[in-house]
Symmetry: C2
Subunit: 420 residues, 2 copies
């Protein structure tokens, strides 16, 4: 028993070290087919653990029919839905292809994806561009407005960001996030500071590589008008940080948490790429005017990669203003969430600190043993989608990762280290 | 006695109402000579209450000789200093001409000034563009680098901002500052959020009104690289908010606090435009590497207009990260400054609130009676200049307004309401 404990301790020390030594840099925006060469026609990467059409929730179905029209695989939504039901599309998790996506999180051939490179380990991770708020595909939207915006991201914003990023050395995300934490962001439901810092870092190069000041003005206006623009960057960053932490024998550290709107799945370093899943829960939160919990789809998206690296719900203490937005109680209590998540994590991030907590580092490295032992499952700040296809966001809230995922994972982990 | 109390209460209610109903909007950037038509050749507006050349401190002298060269009144700094000593320049406080300036705060004919309009009352206030950090005129710098930057502000940035601002309806500052308070700014020594929000609001119009993408890139880079860019906007906003509060008979509310590096002066609504002055104090703070308190010039600048409207040291609770920068103790204690300033103010600003304090409004409307009664003088977050001309900033700290100003003011105020 003592020997196994030593193995686990050493493995977790190595896992935490890899997490904290990651050096994520936003380097480019390229078509998904260039980033992920395995992508093919009619292949759809989605958020969360593996799932087929029959198991998919409403907003996921809405997004899929929309993306099929966008990619030219179907002339309209109706045909797209029929094709999907007939098995014409090939579904895989983003996580299996170095990618992540918020909410429905679809990644397909021609969408532009942001490239975050982890310079310490050389790996890259990808995430599509954030579409803004309102009616958007990540919340299940699929009408002309949604598809037109995707075309603009593909034809205008993506190429412009690519030119700007390639003209320099990329945007170092570790220090940018550190700054964002001093400016009230937790990088999941509040990204106003980091979105602004990204715009500020990128805008001189956007200007100097631009040939069309009207298009440039639109770009600056789109990024500047989208307080969640940074979310997708934070997600690619999370994936880029966590991928090198996968597959460390004996490590009980969580390397991914993700949801497809039906199932919640986690992966643990010591058990490789196996998913441990359980039904997703319903967020508790606040609804936009005209909507109630009866309209809500349960928890969805790869965005929980943000909590996996100690941000989002784990960094609530940095973002008292988000507490009200997600219905997590009074602002002055936000710090309690961060302190509680400290009970299920292996360490603190000395580079990502929270001024109001006298520079306490964000709780980092979720240990499945601590989750099961304390009965405290990770707190996640999340958007809430309407349960029907084609509607969009209806609110924001807080949700817990299902304890069953951690219990299953702990069982498999114990077997893997010979303690069953 | 009771009748006088009623007069004072009513007057202060009116004063606070005017403060809180101000609607400051950044509308333009124009040459100072257009904004302030009284400006003439060899006329220099400066920070703080009235003072002549003989009384001026080192950095103020450094800035004056520099601006004389910039304006073409002297061929070099040496001649400029001789001219100044011979009485060739005409000195007046910015405050007498609807203007404010940080630190040395010089305003002269050809410098561009930002225009903040208070749409509720129709008045306008002016402040020069922030030069950035390092060697700058506001900290007494006066070499070629400093003067070249002033020329670029005059010839490139000022006109570009003017075009951008005129193409729209201006930037509404009340909501922008409200947002900045949720992002860790106190708008005196920390303006990173508001500077970014301003850039974000202005950049689409900067792009669409630009004809030169390289110049545009320089502009975006300059604003984006200057975390204190918003300070000068906050100051013009403060002046625009406070000017309509002047001259309310029976009001004991402070309408201006300002320092020229030698004297600290305050003005009180009920005593009109009279200055009550006392020698400035030395900030207690932290020094940049290589400098100590022995290098420091005492307190200077019109920037205390920011505290006068409830920001800066009064809003420290919104900006825990600034506490360390100005040497004001631990971050978690920042809220105490805000709570203490609540003891000398007439109310709270319901539109400028601090999330971490469960949306407590910033303490607003300094009452000279409360200052004298409690013995608590206003807390000011400030930059620290080198005491010699031509050096620049050496640190940042916290300083108290001298109690003697408030005691004198209270004496005059008592006489004005017939209670002596």
């Amino acid at each position: 028993m003592k020997a196994e404990m030593k193995v686990i301790e050493d493995a977790n020390r190595e896992a935490l070290k890899r997490m904290l030594s990651g050096d994520p840099v936003l380097v480019d925006v390229i078509p998904a087919m260039e980033a992920i060469t395995e992508l093919k026609e009619r292949m759809i990467l989605h958020a969360g653990p593996p799932i087929g059409w029959d198991g998919l929730c409403g907003p996921m179905r809405g997004a899929i029919t929309g993306i099929a029209v966008f990619e030219g695989w179907a002339p309209d939504l109706e045909v797209a839905e029929k094709l999907a039901a007939d098995g014409a599309f090939d579904f895989h998790p983003n996580h299996h292809f170095d990618a992540v996506g918020p909410m429905t999180g679809l990644t397909t051939l021609s969408q532009p994806v942001m490239v975050v490179e982890n310079r310490t380990f050389g790996n890259r991770a990808y995430c599509a561009l954030n579409e803004g708020l309102g009616k958007v595909m990540r919340f299940g939207g699929n009408d002309d407005e949604v598809l037109d915006r995707l075309r603009w991201l593909r034809d205008v914003l993506g190429p412009a960001m690519s030119k700007a990023l390639r003209s320099g050395d990329g945007i170092s995300l570790k220090s940018l996030v550190a700054r964002g934490l001093t400016m009230g962001d937790e990088m999941h439901q509040r990204n106003v500071a980091c979105s602004g810092l990204t715009l500020r870092a990128m805008s001189p190069a956007l200007a100097s590589t631009s040939t069309d000041t009207e298009a440039l003005s639109d770009i600056l206006s789109f990024i500047g008008g989208n307080d969640q623009f940074f979310l997708n960057i934070a997600m690619a960053m999370g994936k880029a940080i966590m991928d090198p932490v996968r597959g460390i024998e004996g490590s009980s550290l969580v390397t991914a948490m993700s949801r497809n709107g039906t199932d919640f799945g986690i992966r643990v370093s010591g058990t490789g790429d196996k998913w441990f899943t359980a039904p997703v829960e319903m967020p508790e939160g606040l609804y936009f005017p005209g909507f109630t919990e009866a309209d809500a789809n349960p928890d969805m998206g790869d965005s929980t990669i943000v909590e996996t690296i100690g941000l989002g719900g784990f960094a609530m203490g940095a973002a008292p203003a988000v507490a009200g937005f997600v219905g997590a109680g009074t602002a002055s209590e936000a710090a309690n969430f961060t302190r509680t998540m400290g009970e299920i994590t292996l360490g603190e991030n000395p580079e990502w600190t929270i001024p109001a907590l006298d520079y306490l580092g964000v709780p980092t490295g979720i240990d499945i043993r601590l989750v099961v032992e304390t009965g405290l499952s990770p707190t996640i700040n999340t958007g809430i989608a309407h349960k029907e296809p084609g509607v969009g966001q209806v609110g924001a809230g807080v949700v817990r990762a299902p304890m069953a995922c951690f219990e299953q994972a702990l069982h498999a982990f114990a077997q893997s280290v010979g303690v069953s």
